[in-house]
């Protein structure tokens, strides 16, 4: 595996300073961008707004996702082809890489940082690895009926070294407890038809699974699991003809802002607003396409929304105080993902078909930077290391 370093690498202080010996450096302003078509990642610095290294040899990175070690030095990259790669952001190299399944969709890291869990489509289930060595510790096959295995979606870390996730084919939410990492125990909860993704609220209390096969979202209170999963936002479509969904929305804990959850509707060009104290719908906001990512700025004042094909050149910004769209942006072609800097003064957006990442100032919506990246998709900054559900 070879690593291509950019020529201006040496201009970035503190990293790989080969000529002057290693310098100490933190990772709080670092991150990485997935280059989905070429199996590469670009490592970036959000202070300089520049890339500082590129790493290749990571396999099929379409739909790849990343979690960070609790010291925010290592990135775990989950590839579509089942590859799990551990990358050192400071040394800009792959520390370890394994192929852990045939077809994966993402992963998560435990509360104590010691277990990395991958969620798999084929064979359906989750697998737990030692975060240090990537040694396989245990697995939980998603066998929801004898001989029937489900694709796993929505995997999220929960307090107590638990992981919550949903079974697309099985229609259930499962919670696996890895207190003993080699012998996990699992609880099952009926959820509804075709859960497509899930999220855990930032306090680690509620797990939500968005449903594709019916209107509504299944919600499990992890503080009171004995009450089971219940439906919220039931029948929000009220039997109306659904619009086609050309890409499934993505759910994560970033949807929660100012005591409300902002969630993508399925088959409707709307963001649904739910009060997280009562779990009642309190509003709907019309947007310019099928929402994919509905992400709150870290302070919760704004919610940024991107869209599925064919509306993925647009981004809408909701002002959470007024509940209205205040910006209709056109940042580039094929906007696949967004990531806020730790305190939200900037947002980085990947424009896949323009082969660039654009950087916006979230205060005045001016573009403040741009990085050339080959077919970028996910953008992941290290502040995810300290957040539940990321």
């Amino acid at each position: 595996m070879k690593m291509l370093r950019f020529l201006f690498l040496l201009a970035v202080s503190g990293l790989l300073a080969a000529c002057v010996g290693p310098q100490l450096r933190g990772t709080g302003d670092l991150g990485l961008i997935i280059e989905r078509a070429s199996g590469q990642v670009t490592l970036i610095n959000t202070s300089s707004r520049q890339p500082y290294a590129r790493i290749d040899g990571l396999g099929d990175l379409s739909h790849a996702s990343v979690v960070y070690s609790r010291d925010a030095r290592y990135a775990y990259v989950f590839g579509r082809d089942g590859g799990l790669s551990k990358i050192d952001l400071l040394e800009a190299r792959i520390v370890k890489r394994i192929i852990q399944s045939g077809n994966a969709i993402g992963g998560s890291i435990s509360q104590d940082g010691r277990i990395v869990v991958a969620q798999n489509y084929t064979p359906g289930g989750i697998k737990a690895f030692d975060a240090e060595t990537l040694e396989l510790l245990s697995e939980v096959p998603a066998e929801y009926a004898p001989g029937k295995f489900s694709k796993v979606v929505g995997l999220a870390d929960a307090p107590g070294n638990k992981f919550a996730y949903a079974l697309f084919d099985g229609g259930e939410i499962w919670v696996s407890d890895f207190s003993n990492p080699r012998q996990p125990t699992t609880q099952r909860f009926p959820a509804g038809s075709q859960p497509y993704d899930g999220l855990i609220t930032p306090d680690g209390r509620h797990f939500l699974a968005g449903l594709f096969g019916e209107d509504g979202i299944a919600m499990l209170d992890l503080w009171q699991p004995e009450k089971g999963a219940r439906k919220i936002l039931e029948n929000y479509g009220r039997g109306e003809q659904k619009l086609p969904v050309f890409k499934m929305p993505h759910l994560r804990g970033w949807s929660v802002a100012q005591g409300k959850a902002y969630l993508p509707a399925i088959g409707r060009h709307e963001v649904l607003v739910v009060d997280v104290a009562t779990w009642q719908e309190v509003g709907r906001i019309a947007v310019r396409g099928q929402p994919v990512f509905v992400m709150a700025r870290p302070d919760g004042r704004q919610v940024w929304v991107n869209f599925a094909f064919p509306d993925y050149a647009k981004v809408d910004v909701i002002d959470t105080l007024s509940g209205k769209i205040t910006q209709e942006l056109a940042p580039g072609k094929g906007i696949l993902h967004m990531e806020f800097t730790p305190r939200g003064e900037q947002v980085w957006l990947s424009a896949r078909d323009d082969n660039k990442v654009v950087i916006y100032n979230t205060g005045n919506f001016a573009q403040v930077g741009e990085i050339a990246v080959n077919s970028p998709s996910g953008i992941f900054f290290t502040h995810r290391a300290g957040r539940i559900g990321f």
Binding site: R80, D81, N103, Y121, F168, Y196, F212, M248, P310, R352
Partner: protein, 89 residues
């Protein structure tokens, strides 16, 4: 199958659409994801007409949407023809 081949430019657009947009569920390398694999081995027992209809009309009850706003039936048939042999990069 006697197909009116799409123009070279259109073929490139269709290939890109399959890899990038269909790829969000079926995988960019078409090995499957939330949607099934679209590689020749996975499709070999399925009639081509049915596959083309799935692309054009979608499959109710599954997440597969209809793509008829974006391509013609002949173009859907061309995509199937390429999928069951070898899909261009």
């Amino acid at each position: 199958m006697a197909l009116a081949e799409p123009t070279a430019t259109r073929q490139k657009e269709l290939v890109r659409m399959v890899r990038q947009d269909c790829g969000s569920c079926h995988g960019m390398t078409l090995q499957g994801g939330l949607g099934p694999a679209l590689l020749p081995a996975a499709l070999k027992d399925k009639p081509a007409e049915g596959l083309a209809a799935t692309i054009y009309y979608g499959r109710p009850g599954t997440p597969m949407p209809p793509w008829q706003q974006f391509l013609s039936e002949a173009e859907a048939a061309w995509i199937v023809d390429k999928l069951i042999s070898e899909f261009p990069q």
